[in-house]
C-alpha cells in the first residue's frame, strides 16, 4: 500500500494548492490563523485525498470515516482541503469569517455539511471523538453498518488535535477514557509544532516526554515527520492495524510550513498575512520555491 511516485507527486501538488488557498482566504478575511493551518496542510491533504473513506457529494454517508477537528482555530486548512476535494466551490473560500458565510471563524457542526463537530475552545475534541468512536463500536454489528462493511472497513474516527491544547485537563480525561475503553477505531493525530500563543510549548507548559505520557495512558504511539506523505500514510495504516488500543500519531510539524519567513515563529499563530506578504509568498509557492518556472497553476 505504499505510495507510487505519481501518487506522491499528486499529493504534494495538492498540498501546495491548499497552502495557496489558505493564504488567499486569510488575506480576504483580514483575520485568522496562519501558522497552524500551513503546518497541517500535508496531513489534511493525505487524509482527504488518500486516507479517508468519504464522499464529498454525500457528506452524511453513514459509513464515512469521521474527521473530528479539536483545535478549531486551524479550520482554514480544513475548509481549503474540503473545497479542493469537492465539498463546495473553491471560490467560497473567500467568504471565510464574513457575515453570513458558511465558513465561520471557528467550525460549527451545522454551518457547513461535512464539518462533523464544533470546536475552537480547545481540549474538547478528543472527548467528542471518543464518544463517536464508542457509538460506532456499539453499533458496529447493526444492519445499517454491516451492509457496507464487506466493502468498506468499519468507519474509523480521526481526531486532529494541537499540542497547546494538551495543557487542558479535558484532553487528559479523554486520553484516559479512550485508553480505558480500548477505542481502537480512534486515531488521534497531534500537530506537534511546539508553539502556542504565548510562546514555545516547552517554555509555557512542557509536554515532554509526550510519547511516554500517552503510552502510560494505554495508547499505541507513533511519531512521524508530519510533512512526509509516506510517513503519514504508513502511520495511519499501522494505527488501523492495531486493534487492542487507540493510537496517537505525534506528527512533528513546522508551524507556517512552506513560507520560510514565518516557519517556526509562534508570533504567526493568530495573525493573517498582509496583502503584500501574501502576494510574495504565493509567488514562491506557485514556483515551488523557485524550483519550477512560471508555476504549475497558471
Amino acid at each position: 500500500m505504499s505510495l507510487t511516485d505519481v501518487q506522491l507527486k499528486n499529493l504534494e501538488t495538492k498540498a501546495n494548492d491548499i497552502r495557496m488557498s489558505i493564504l488567499e482566504m486569510l488575506v480576504a478575511a483580514g483575520s485568522g490563523h496562519t501558522a497552524g493551518p500551513m503546518g497541517m496542510a500535508d496531513i489534511f491533504t493525505a487524509l482527504y485525498f488518500h486516507i479517508l473513506n468519504h464522499d464529498p457529494k454525500n457528506p452524511e454517508w453513514v459509513n464515512r470515516d469521521r474527521l473530528i477537528l479539536s483545535n478549531g482555530h486551524i479550520v482554514p486548512v480544513r475548509y481549503a482541503t474540503m473545497a479542493h476535494a469537492g465539498y463546495f466551490p473553491v471560490t467560497e473560500l473567500n467568504t471565510l469569517r464574513k457575515f453570513g458565510s458558511r465558513l465561520q471563524g471557528h467550525p460549527e457542526r451545522h454551518a457547513l455539511p461535512g464539518l462533523e463537530n464544533t470546536s475552537g475552545p480547545l481540549g474538547s475534541g478528543l472527548s467528542q471523538a471518543s464518544g463517536i468512536a464508542l457509538g460506532l463500536r456499539m453499533d458496529a454489528n447493526s444492519l445499517k453498518l454491516s451492509g457496507a462493511s464487506a466493502l468498506f472497513p468499519k468507519p474509523h474516527v480521526y481526531c486532529l488535535m494541537s499540542d497547546g491544547e494538551l495543557d487542558e485537563g479535558n484532553s487528559w480525561e479523554a486520553i484516559m477514557f479512550a485508553g480505558n475503553r480500548k477505542l481502537s477505531n480512534l486515531t488521534a493525530i497531534i500537530d506537534r509544532n511546539n508553539i502556542q500563543i504565548d510562546g514555545m510549548t516547552e517554555d509555557i507548559m512542557p509536554l515532554e516526554p509526550l510519547a511516554d505520557k500517552w503510552r502510560a495512558f494505554n495508547w499505541h504511539v507513533i511519531e512521524i515527520d508530519g510533512h512526509n506523505f509516506t510517513d503519514i500514510i504508513d502511520a495511519v495504516n499501522q494505527a488501523k492495524a492495531i486493534i487492542e488500543k487507540p493510537t496517537v500519531i505525534i506528527a512533528h510539524t513546522i508551524p507556517g510550513k512552506g513560507i520560510t519567513e514565518i516557519e517556526g515563529d509562534y508570533k504567526w499563530h493568530g495573525v493573517p498575512p498582509s496583502k503584500d506578504q501574501a502576494e510574495a509568498w504565493l509567488k514562491g509557492l506557485r514556483t515551488l520555491g523557485g524550483k519550477i518556472e512560471g508555476g504549475h497553476l497558471d
Binding site: 464574513k98 453570513g100 460549527e108 500563543i197 509555557i204 507548559m205
Partner: protein, 324 residues
C-alpha cells in the same frame, strides 16, 4: 444632558481590556499582594504590562482555565489577591464549577477577568462570543459583577476591585470603543448613575458596557425629536443598585435595558427582578434573544442582533406605546 464629568469621544478609541491592563499595573504598585495569572493569553488580555513590571508576581498557566482559577483560589486562600485572565467563553465559561466552589463558597478574592466578551469579538464567530457570562456570574452568591462602558471606567473598576476582599468578575471587550467617562468621573462600585439626564424624561434606558454609548446616542437623537430619554450607566450588575432602578421607574414609568448579552439572565433580567418585586412598569429588553452569535464585523453583528442605537430607539417607541 450628558452628565457633567462625561465627554463623548470617538477619536483615539481604546478597548476596555486596555484600561484593565493599565489599572492592573497601578494596583500592583500599591498592593504587593496582587498577583496575575493567564491561560496562554498574555498579550490579548493585556496582562503583559503587569508581567513585565512584576515578573515574580506573574504566572503563565498554559491553556488550562480550570487550573487557572483553582490555583488562584489557593493563592487567595493563602492571602494573595489574584487576577486571572482569559476569554470570557473559557473563564468563566469553562471553569464555572471551580469558580462556584473554590472561589465563591470559599469566599476568596479572586478577580476573574473575562476578555473578548460579547458579539464584538466579531470574525471569530459563535464559539468565541460570550453571551451568557453575566448570567452565570451574577447567579453566584458572594460574586461581584462589573461591566465597564469604556477604557477609563475599566481602569477604575480594576483599581476598585483590587481593594475589595471579595470574588469579582470583570467583563471586558476586544473592540476599541468610544470613550464616555473621563479622569474626572468617579467610579463607585454598586452605584449606577445618570450618564444622560433630561428634566421630564418619558423613558429610562438602563445600559451597561459598550451599549451605554449606543444608548446615549439614541437618547440624544430622540431628544431632538421631542422624546425625552434618561440613560443610566449600570456598570455594576451585582450588587445591583436597586434604589436608582426604582426611582427611575417612578420618574418615567417606562424602562429599556440594553446589554451585549443574552436577555435571559443578564442586566435586563436583573432589572426586571427588582421592578417586578418593587414597582412594576413596562420594560423592553435590548439584548440577544436565545441565539448564538456568528462571524461578522462588530458593526454588522450589532445591527443584525439589534443592539445598535436604531434598535434602542425602536425599543423606546415600543415601551412608550405600552406605557400609554
Amino acid at each position: 444632558m450628558l452628565y457633567k464629568t462625561l465627554k463623548l469621544n470617538t477619536e483615539d478609541q481604546k478597548a476596555t481590556r486596555d484600561g484593565f491592563g493599565v489599572g492592573l499595573v497601578e494596583a500592583g504598585k500599591s498592593d504587593e499582594r496582587i498577583v496575575a495569572l493567564t491561560a496562554d493569553l498574555k498579550e490579548s488580555t493585556r496582562v503583559e504590562a503587569f508581567a513585565q513590571e512584576f515578573p515574580d508576581r506573574f504566572f503563565e498557566m498554559g491553556v488550562a482555565e480550570q487550573n487557572l482559577v483553582t490555583v488562584a483560589s489557593g493563592l487567595a486562600n493563602y492571602g494573595k489577591v489574584p487576577f486571572v485572565t482569559s476569554y470570557a467563553t473559557f473563564s468563566p465559561g469553562r471553569n464555572l464549577e471551580q469558580i462556584r466552589t473554590t472561589v465563591c463558597i470559599n469566599d476568596v478574592p479572586v478577580k476573574i477577568i473575562g476578555c473578548h466578551a460579547g458579539l464584538t469579538v466579531g470574525p471569530d464567530g459563535a464559539t468565541h462570543q460570550a453571551l451568557e457570562d453575566i448570567a452565570i456570574m451574577r447567579v453566584l452568591p458572594n460574586m461581584t459583577v462589573v461591566v465597564p462602558c469604556d477604557t477609563e471606567e475599566a481602569r477604575k473598576a480594576t483599581l476598585t476591585l483590587a481593594m475589595t476582599n471579595k470574588p469579582a468578575y470583570l467583563r471586558l471587550g476586544r473592540d476599541k470603543t468610544p470613550s464616555i467617562t473621563t479622569s474626572e468621573t468617579s467610579f463607585e462600585l454598586g452605584k449606577g448613575y445618570y450618564a444622560f439626564e433630561t428634566d421630564s424624561a418619558d423613558v429610562t434606558i438602563i445600559a451597561c458596557g459598550a451599549l451605554v454609548y449606543n444608548a446615549i446616542i439614541a437618547a440624544e437623537e430622540l431628544g431632538s425629536q421631542g422624546i425625552n430619554v434618561d440613560v443610566i450607566n449600570m456598570h455594576t450588575i451585582k450588587p445591583l443598585d436597586r434604589d436608582i432602578i426604582i426611582s427611575a421607574a417612578k420618574k418615567t414609568g417606562a424602562i429599556v435595558t440594553a446589554e451585549e448579552h443574552q436577555i435571559t439572565g443578564g442586566l435586563g433580567s436583573a432589572v426586571a427582578e427588582v421592578l417586578a418585586e418593587e414597582y412594576p412598569v413596562p420594560i423592553e429588553f435590548i439584548g440577544v434573544r436565545n441565539q448564538f452569535g456568528q462571524s461578522g464585523t462588530p458593526a454588522e453583528l450589532m445591527k443584525f442582533y439589534k443592539l445598535d442605537s436604531e434598535s434602542i430607539k425602536g425599543a423606546i417607541h415600543d415601551v412608550l406605546r405600552r406605557k400609554g
